[in-house]
């Protein structure tokens, strides 16, 4: 690896997990050793929470209940609209209600294995450990999970798991869990325990004497830029899939809060770990603004196929059985259509690359329900998936009961994020990062129904305990409004905003975002190669230069200006894209959501290189033009034996 791409810094380590006790006792031990804050003292301590999704909403509500002074920020018009609302499938919990051999240890095992042995054992164990309490909490709040006729909770199995541990609320589990957290938050708002800042975007982090002490924000309605200070800052600002422009994320989802913290010194870990979801509705045209996910549960009854012959553009109903290639069933007889997401996605890409893809632009495969309808009857399929067939019909105008669906993979979730220790604290003291925004407990690939689990585990149960340990040293000295760090951060935000508005070039923000997304999808998407990544690394600085000299941002700063908001986010996505490609290029192995063409088994499966890459890559930002610094955190597997994933 040539030195110009990055330099290597000191290794980094998680110093907070009590590794002197066995993993099942670590969390208990950590809580016991952590310092506490007397209830009477909590009201003197303030905490900024950025975001109101499952992680941010549950954290803000829980911290306010505990008695801290919470200041909560979100960019949508209401905390109920955070993108967690769109999660469809379900939430895992090791309740073992099915008596099918599930346990905390098995969920821990599945998470580490599913993550392709690139997550921290201590964190993954804790995630499994607190999972059961999340279900209890949600039910107490009135979350209407699916129930059986006896009145008890229903479960189903979900991609990559052989036990039924997924709790769900039809296809709207994220929505219902989010509303539970939102209502708990609104209750605290009503009680006067939370200072609210809706339609407000974080644009910088204020670091004073080495501690995170506040944020600079822009009020999206008035355009006013201001600083808010506190004893600690919690980022729950979600993932960065929109670096690909087209993804299943909401249009507003962005990396800005996390990226600006990165530029202030927070390490960004494993940015190349990207999850591509296999069952999305294919792109229909250049105007396409986002991609829509169809729940993975469809793969329980649908069969994935393409024609055996390339260029066969007959109506699927005219293609006889022996001229179809059910490629997942053929290659993975044990798991068939239920192989994990990364495998299903890559195989779909492969058959399309062979020229056997279906649909208008050849980027699609069939998901066929003919057999299931014959076996179970149309009414059963309607009852199970009716809303998904309706959604498909609304978007494509096609009747999938007749024609089957056309699906194609799309970017769905990002496992990478800001580096945190066992306490979920970044390398900047006082900056905590939770939910998808951190580099998480998911390793290189996240299993289905585990994102909701992690967001709520962090917000309800982990952070409120670990944050207290930090705040026990507070309140910290008051930061003056004219402190040099505050003035510098505010000035930086104003300068960037003014610069964006002054360029007045000839290309729209969206055109840059589309170009960047296309580049990342082609060269840093489902399959990455050294050649492609180097090409991307040549091209991204050019895009960045053109953006900063030729973008046209409309309107002014002191008003409601959605185009300006988008411009700032795209500027950050361009910088992130570069780091993603460096990370992907340096990691010369395949693991989970990162597939390097150069590193595969003879059968085309991901080939890890544990000898050289069993570590977390935590990147340090360096100013313009200088290469980022890599800090390695070694991963050790004491409880789960490192093995090649096999789903055959």
């Amino acid at each position: 690896m040539p030195l110009e791409l990055f330099t290597v810094g000191e290794p980094i380590a998680d110093t907070k997990a009590p590794t002197d006790v066995p993993v099942p006792q670590m969390w208990e031990e950590r809580k016991f050793r952590a310092r506490l804050v007397n209830p009477a003292n909590r009201r003197r301590l303030s905490v900024i929470v950025v975001g109101t999704g499952l992680a941010g909403g549950s954290a803000a509500a829980t911290l306010a209940e505990a008695g801290y002074r919470v200041k909560n920020f979100w960019f949508q018009d209401s905390p109920r609209r955070a993108h967690s609302v769109a999660a469809q499938g379900g939430i895992n919990a090791a309740k073992n209600y099915r008596n099918d051999g599930d346990s905390v240890h098995r969920l821990f095992y599945d998470t580490v294995k599913g993550g392709d042995f690139r997550s921290r054992e201590a964190n993954s164990y804790r995630l499994a450990e607190v999972s059961a309490a999340i279900i209890d909490q949600a039910v107490a709040q009135g979350v209407p999970f699916a129930r059986e006729y006896g009145g008890l909770l229903d479960n189903r199995s979900f991609g990559g798991a052989q036990v039924s541990r997924t709790f769900y609320a039809r296809g709207q589990t994220g929505q219902q869990l989010l509303y539970g957290a939102y209502q708990a938050l609104e209750r605290q708002i009503g009680l006067g325990n939370v200072e609210t800042h809706g339609r407000t975007e974080m644009l910088d982090l204020v670091v004073v004497d080495g501690r995170a002490r506040g944020i600079v924000v822009r009020d999206l309605i008035t355009g006013q830029i201001s600083t808010h200070l506190a004893d600690a800052v919690v980022l729950a600002s979600g993932g960065y899939s929109n670096v690909f422009y087209l993804s299943t994320n909401a249009k507003g989802s962005n990396v800005t809060a996390a990226w600006r913290a990165h530029k202030r010194g927070a390490l960004f870990a494993n940015p190349c770990y990207t999850q591509i979801h296999p069952t999305c509705i294919p792109v229909s045209g250049d105007y396409q603004s986002k991609l829509t996910l169809m729940s993975e549960s469809l793969r329980n009854d649908g069969r994935v196929w393409v024609p055996k012959e390339r260029g066969d553009d007959r109506d699927p109903r005219q293609i006889p059985e022996d001229e179809r290639d059910y490629f997942l069933e053929r290659k993975y007889p044990a798991f068939g259509n239920l192989v994990p997401r990364d495998i299903a996605s890559r195989q779909a890409k492969n058959v399309c690359d062979e020229g056997r893809g279906v649909g208008p632009n050849g980027l699609g495969v069939y998901l066929d329900f003919t057999d299931a309808i014959q076996r179970l009857g149309r009414s059963t399929i309607e009852a199970k998936y009716g809303n998904l067939f309706d959604m498909y019909n609304r978007i494509t105008g096609e009747d999938a009961y007749e024609t089957g669906m056309r699906i194609y993979p799309a970017v769905h979730y990002t496992m990478g994020g800001l580096w945190v220790d066992y306490d979920l604290e970044s390398n900047i003291p006082g900056l905590f990062v939770i939910g998808e925004a951190n580099f998480s407990d998911q390793g290189a690939n996240r299993l289905g129904a585990s994102a909701l689990m992690q967001g709520l585990a962090d917000g309800y149960f982990v952070l409120p305990n670990t944050l207290a340990n930090y705040l026990a040293d507070g309140p910290f000295p008051k930061v003056a409004a004219d402190h040099p760090a505050v003035v510098e951060a505010e000035t930086a935000v104003r300068t960037q905003t003014e610069r964006l508005l002054s360029i007045n070039g000839t290309r729209t923000v969206a055109s840059f975002h589309r170009e960047l997304g296309r580049l990342m999808w082609d060269l840093c998407g489902m399959e990455r190669s050294e050649e492609g990544l180097r090409k991307a690394l040549d091209r991204i600085p050019e895009i960045k230069h053109e953006f900063w000299t030729n973008v046209k941002v409309s309107g002014e700063q002191g008003v409601f200006n959605q185009n300006l908001e988008h411009a700032g986010r795209v500027a950050d996505f361009i910088e992130l894209a570069e780091l993603m490609c460096v990370d992907a290029l340096h990691r010369n192995e395949s693991c989970g959501g990162h597939f390097r063409a150069e590193s595969q088994t003879p059968e085309g499966e991901a080939l890890r290189d544990d000898e050289n890459f069993a570590y977390v890559a935590a990147w340090e930002y360096t100013p313009d033009g200088t290469p980022p610094v890599l800090h390695r955190e070694a991963l050790e597997y004491e409880y789960i034996h490192l093995a090649q994933r096999s789903y055959k």
Binding site: A140, R147, Q175, Y287, G397, Q562
Partner: protein
């Protein structure tokens, strides 16, 4: 296809707005309605004009951000959110009126963007079950009959988009409030606060600039999640029950 759009333009809450005509050409029937507006906005930006402000986020019908009056109907001709409306529902040469939600309870922020924070305040007043983190009993401690759970779920699917208010000739928020009252009131966990909840939520709804409910039913007809009028009966039942039990109305 080629279309004429008549769009409500309003610089800010204090300024007077007006309808402005725009022509869009080469619209694909596979575009969503919001993608059609994206194309218009790209053109406006390049021409040096102010793009049309509208709220949107998930673009798959679940976040509740988007909402437009299209030819006088909340969310337009399909019973779905605007983001799920596709241009194949229109024909070449159509003239389409596009306006923001119209209600005193939802003041205009800019163009098609309105302030729906009144909905949050209604939830804040009582739309919850008090269950601080860590206090929950084991999830299976209280079985819930499936029919109650399913009915609670149906009410809980409300996305808070505000179409019900926009469609109501009275500008009433009753369907929104009733959906939450029904969701929580149907569950055993929601019983202890049932009376207080309905009183406080209705009290807050009255304190906002919403009109009263006269059971017209426009709300349910446009609701993208099909929240039923039955929820309003439940609210009235709960409200009457609370008042007969001696509660003092909050409004």
């Amino acid at each position: 296809m080629n279309l004429t759009l008549k769009i409500w333009r309003q610089v800010g809450p204090a300024t007077k707005g007006k309808m402005v005509s725009y022509h869009v050409t080469d619209v694909s029937p596979d575009m969503s309605f919001l993608e059609m507006l994206d194309v218009l906005n790209e053109k406006l930006i390049l021409d040096g004009d102010d793009p049309v402000a509208f709220d949107h986020d998930c673009r798959e019908g679940i976040c509740g951000s988007c909402g437009l009056m299209i030819d006088g109907v909340a969310h337009g001709p399909e019973q779905a959110t605007v983001c799920q409306l596709h241009m194949r529902s229109f024909s070449d040469g159509d003239v389409i009126d596009i306006e923001p939600w119209r209600s005193g309870g939802f003041p205009v922020v800019k163009d098609l963007v309105v302030d729906r924070s009144a909905f949050d305040r209604i939830i804040s007043a009582g739309g919850f079950i008090s269950a601080p983190t860590g206090t929950a009993p084991e999830a299976h401690a209280t079985p819930v009959p499936k029919k109650d759970s399913d009915a609670a779920f149906d009410a809980a699917t409300c996305i808070g988009c505000g179409a019900c208010v926009a469609a109501c000739p009275n500008g009433s928020a009753m369907l929104f409030t009733a959906a939450k009252v029904s969701h929580l009131g149907l569950l055993p966990q929601g019983q202890p606060e049932r009376d207080a909840r309905v009183l406080r939520m209705v009290g807050q709804q009255d304190a906002e600039d919403f009109g009263g409910c006269t059971n017209i039913g426009e709300c349910s007809a446009v609701c993208p999640k099909g929240i039923s009028m039955e929820t309003i009966s439940r609210l009235n039942h709960d409200l009457l029950g609370a008042l007969r039990a001696g509660a003092v109305p909050a409004s």
